[in-house]
């Protein structure tokens, strides 16, 4: 089986102070730590598990500049047979339609049976890459999958719904499956493993085969800014013990639970 997985290299914003660049539309990325998108870590693990189960070869794709290669090395370290990176300066700040066009360009004429990607990315979170790629390739897609099993020329998936529900769907291959977090336990990758993967080659493509002119790409970022803040929390300050005493008082007075 020919399997592909798409991964994205994104800034880790969990404890970072974010600054908007002078253009008022983009993030100042300098100084931020970058990592593989959380959803993609699960997609990668699932791709490796499927390859181990049904056999075949796994190609990892990434749309990004050279600095993003670290995420591809991780793919190679956990079992991808090949890695492909596509980048063009025109893709800087690309919207989901342009990214999907680049994904389509990177796949080229290779016919993959199964293409996995994260259901969304932690930076912009559009969640459109997988379904748009599937449309561009003219194949099936299913989004938000938290369980899957390949059965011959089909794949049986469970889509995550709201409130603890799911729906089981049978999909004909070839297909693009967008993976939700929690579907598996992504394996630990040692630094040594990533170092070893440095010896493996990464195919680098430019944007020559990418059509960025689609009607769907008419999205213009007008602004990027801090969200309007509400009243927000009343902050309790002091040593842990002092803060704990304040909490205790609050629980007694207002909470009515002690």
């Amino acid at each position: 089986m020919k399997i592909a997985v798409f991964v994205k290299h994104v800034p880790d914003v969990a404890e970072a102070d974010l600054e908007v660049a002078a253009d008022g539309r983009t993030l100042k990325g300098a100084g931020l730590p970058f990592e593989m998108n959380e959803w993609d870590r699960f997609a990668l693990e699932e791709a490796v598990l499927i390859k181990d189960e049904v056999g075949g070869d796994l190609t990892a794709f990434l749309i990004g500049d050279e600095a993003a290669e670290e995420s591809l090395r991780r793919c190679l370290a956990v079992g991808a047979d090949r890695a492909v990176r596509l980048w063009d300066e025109a893709l800087s700040g690309a919207n989901p339609f342009e990214i999907a066009a680049a994904m389509r360009g990177a796949v080229g004429d290779d016919n993959y049976d199964l293409i996995l990607c994260g259901a969304q990315s932690s930076d912009y979170g559009y969640g459109m890459g997988g379904p748009l790629l599937a449309e561009a390739l003219g194949i099936n897609s299913v989004a938000l999958v938290n369980k899957m099993k390949v059965e011959g020329s089909k794949v049986l998936v469970t889509r995550e719904l709201e409130g603890g529900w799911g729906e089981e769907v049978e999909v004909n291959l070839p297909a693009v499956i967008s993976i939700q977090t929690g579907i598996n336990e992504p394996r630990y990758v040692s630094i040594l493993g990533i170092k070893k993967a440095r010896k493996k080659p990464i195919d680098v493509l430019d944007g020559a085969g990418v059509d960025l002119s689609s009607e769907g790409g008419k999205l213009v970022v007008e602004s990027l800014q801090a969200p309007p803040l509400g009243e927000g929390a009343e902050f309790l300050e002091g040593s842990p013990e002092e803060v704990a005493e304040r909490c205790l008082a609050l629980l007694k007075e207002a909470g009515g639970v002690l």
């Binding site: 914003v13 932690s122 897609s141 989004a143 089981e168 999205l219 929390a233 909490c247 629980l251 909470g255």
Partner: protein, 325 residues
């Protein structure tokens, strides 16, 4: 100008977000909303009755392929309806839900038209729709203009309308129509999967001590359990904790888990991503402990502590124990 709203329903009932979408749509086009109901045979009439008065027109399609949700069928049907309409919609609105995340991007691909997902606000300026989106883990907000297109698609984050949807006073006309879909859609609904009932129902608890990514390790959940025991509380968590298998799914507060409204919600190391926040923001008292002063959880918490949960939680445990004697 007309706006279409794709009504979301499950098991014969409209989902709450449908009413929000109708209100969003009405605000954009001053009432000329078309509600689109795609349903299985025999299901449409009851659903259409629920829309009555809330849209100018209901476009009703009953088709066997719509008896259960199928994103491909839904995208194909909407593309066919929009392209064949006498007055094509300027905007097609849907929910940023499990269903919307499947059909909306697919429809955008089929129609080759601009789309934004997960908008928290929409406005129409001149002939262009502008969407507001929350990005980078809730720390920034982005405005996106969908300019110069005949038709656009937007999905909206459930619960993002501040005000109660206004009830329109119009009589809704119902227009039944049909679409021609291929016999082989490439995917088939098999069954609903319901989460196995666990031993603990966190939605019944008066006090929740809830842990997030900041708890760092499975062993550290002891810290939350000690506090919960002292308070007579129940331990719950946010999504990453379940994804890592540190706590079972039944403990998850969030859109895909449980919605909770306890008297006290103590959030330890939870950043407060929308998926979590929307399911606990109505708690009577929220106390949040987080290292990051910019964490979105502090926007919905009543009391915030910027600090190390591994120092604050044990101190609170000791204080509660001392107070209870």
């Amino acid at each position: 100008m007309s706006v279409w709203v794709v009504c979301e329903h499950r098991n014969g009932a409209l989902r709450e977000v449908t009413y929000e979408l109708l209100a969003h749509g009405a605000a954009l086009c001053m009432g000329a909303v078309t509600a689109v109901i795609l349903a299985g045979p025999g299901e449409g009439e009851a659903l259409a009755a629920l829309i009555n008065g809330k849209a100018e027109r209901t476009l009703l399609v009953e088709d066997p392929s719509m008896s259960a949700f199928n994103g491909t069928a839904q995208a194909l049907a909407l593309a066919s309806l929009a392209e064949g309409a006498q007055e094509p919609p300027k905007a097609i609105l849907g929910a940023h839900s499990a269903a919307g995340m499947d059909w909306a991007p697919t429809l955008a691909g089929k129609l080759s038209c601009p789309a934004v997902t997960d908008a928290v606000a929409l406005s129409m300026e001149g002939d262009s729709l502008t969407a507001t989106r929350v990005v980078y883990g809730g720390k920034l907000q982005s405005k996106i203009k969908l300019g110069g297109a005949k038709m656009v698609i937007a999905t909206i984050r459930p619960g993002s309308l501040e005000d109660e949807p206004k009830a329109a006073s119009v009589e809704t006309s119902i227009e039944a129509t049909s679409v021609s879909l291929p016999s082989e859609l490439g995917k088939r609904f098999i069954a609903w999967v319901e989460e196995a009932a666990g031993d603990v129902d966190i939605s019944q608890a008066d006090i929740l001590v809830s842990v997030g990514r900041g708890i760092q390790d499975k062993e550290n959940i002891d810290v939350a359990e000690a506090l919960a025991e002292a308070l007579g509380a129940t331990v719950s968590c946010s999504r990453p904790v379940v994804d890592m298998n540190w706590l079972p799914k039944e403990r998850q507060v969030g859109i895909s888990g449980k919605t909770v409204k306890p008297k006290v919600y103590i959030a330890l190391g939870i950043s407060g991503a929308f998926q979590h926040a929307t399911a606990m923001k109505d708690s009577a008292m929220i106390i949040a402990v987080n290292k990051d002063p910019k964490a979105p959880i502090f926007q919905i918490a009543h009391y915030g502590i910027v600090g190390d949960l591994f120092k604050v939680a044990p101190a609170l445990t000791a204080a509660v124990r001392a107070a209870k004697g």
